[in-house]
Amino acid sequence: MTTDTQKLATTIRGHALRMIAKAKASHVGSCLSMADLLAVLYGSVLRVDPANPQWPMRDRLVVSKGHGAAILYAVLAERGFFPVADLMTYSQDGSPLTGHVSHHVPGVELSTGSLGHGLPVGCGLALAHRRPHAPREDTITRSETPTVPHTYVILSDGELDEGSNWEAILFAGHHKLDSLTAIVDYNKVQSFGSVKDVLDLEPLGDKWRSFGWQVHQIDGHDHDAIQSALAADHTGKPKVIIAHTIKGKGVAYMEGQLAWHYKSPDAKQLADALLGLECGQ
């Protein structure tokens, strides 16, 4: 399974690079840092039905860092929600594939782009799936648990500056929303500087823990670690996976570089990047 998800991660990195290069768009670094997270989620964890995107019992994934749209569209296309060929319309005139995540794209739950919106909505989804129809904590049995749709929210580190997230973190802990998992793509670089310099989040794990969350800190590019953190039981508490990642991961000259929050690769840079990913041109 890990081999499959790694292959998927490489494929969607390639799509995102081509899409962003063609559109001369931004945020390639932010896309590449969460490629492995998306590959594991869509490759082996999420219960979704591409033929029926509105299936009521589906798991929900909200990508709150809406600037990571290109790679989300890439993984949705690879998963079969819409044709892979459509990806190259990204950010082009008239395309539904807008530069920030749009719910007009099949498989997308929530339009995002303004930061700090995804987690509150994720709380509402988790609450809806827990009460009143979902079984109460004291009556949950192992066989019943999987019937409750799970809600996942991917957050950027920079967006944790937004107060609305801390309202939601407080809320989810208080209400013991155990069908909710937040994943922080902690690539350490935000819009105009390093997270440490702009508004330091540390000690980040302690903050979430003190708000009543179960906390996992992992290498966000290690598929086995992602798998096992996602699988960890968290009955009675919401879960956060703080995924330590590298901005621009997979393209040597982009890794950890603030500039690739904005720049798009030219033809030569794209060719180098794709060669590096070993997915050809």
Binding site: G116, P120, V121, C123, L125, L127, A128, E167, A168
Partner: protein, 330 residues
Amino acid sequence: MRTSFIETLVQVAERDSRVWLLTGDLGYSVLEKFSTKFPDRYLNAGVAEQNMVGVAAGLAMTGKVVFVYSIANFPTLRCLEQFRNDVCYHNLSVKIVAVGCGLAYGGHGYTHHGVEDIGVMSLLPHVTVMAPGDPVETRWATRTLAEHAGPAYLRLGKAGEPVVHQSEPRIELGKAVQVIDGTQATLISTGGMLETAVRIATILAARRVSVRVLSMPTLRPFDADRVIAEAKRTGRIITLEEHGPGGLGTMVGECLAQAGLGVRFVPMRLQPEPTLCAGSQAYLCGRHGLSLERMVEVTEEVAGTPAADRLRDYGVPIPQPVGSGRERVS
């Protein structure tokens, strides 16, 4: 109005299990009627309006009809982007209910004055905006919004507003309601100013000035057809609202201008500047020029003055009647 709202919501929730109520830690002695009856569909989200509206959106995404209750600016301006992006853009069934709008919380100061809410909320996509004029209209609005798909804003006063409609009128979504017939001017009111509008018309009737009173409980969708019809019928339009620029008066003005109707039009509304002093609702309205005496005077003057003469006073070109074949400028 808030009593009428909660009693109706309880009735609606008895029939419709999709109906939820969230509050931002407000509604003491009001919301208990709902919370004790439907504890699984009630939630105090705490003093955290941004999260509350996001949570409401998440609930609505699973098919629930979510009423979100707080006072004045807290469920509107404080979480405006959550309502815009998460609710309106996604066309979700979340109904924001703000009580104490206008200058109802007069003595509490400007932070508690809901005087821009109609304008702001009306700008958003898919939204239905309602400002009922009395408890009867509030009952209708609550029932209508519970059945209506999509986002909505319900603007309410506080408690103790008098019943204006002595019988159950036929009200339609997006339509004005005639309360008093008249011929010389049309006074259009929205929200809790309805009672005042009726008092103005009653006082003027005793002076043999005939003023028609309409209530406008729905502001989006806006009843432009009725405004145009009234402009053609009485030729003099006055609006009345406890709101600054951007509300009913602005909507009516835009409508008249687009229709090319050069009728006499006076918006009676609050001034855009903040109210700096304490005072009762009536006192503060007076400071904004909305004392009963002043409003009677303005309405009488408008109703008694030929539109064209008045326009001449201001040096404004006199508009030709519609369809008079005015010259084409080429």
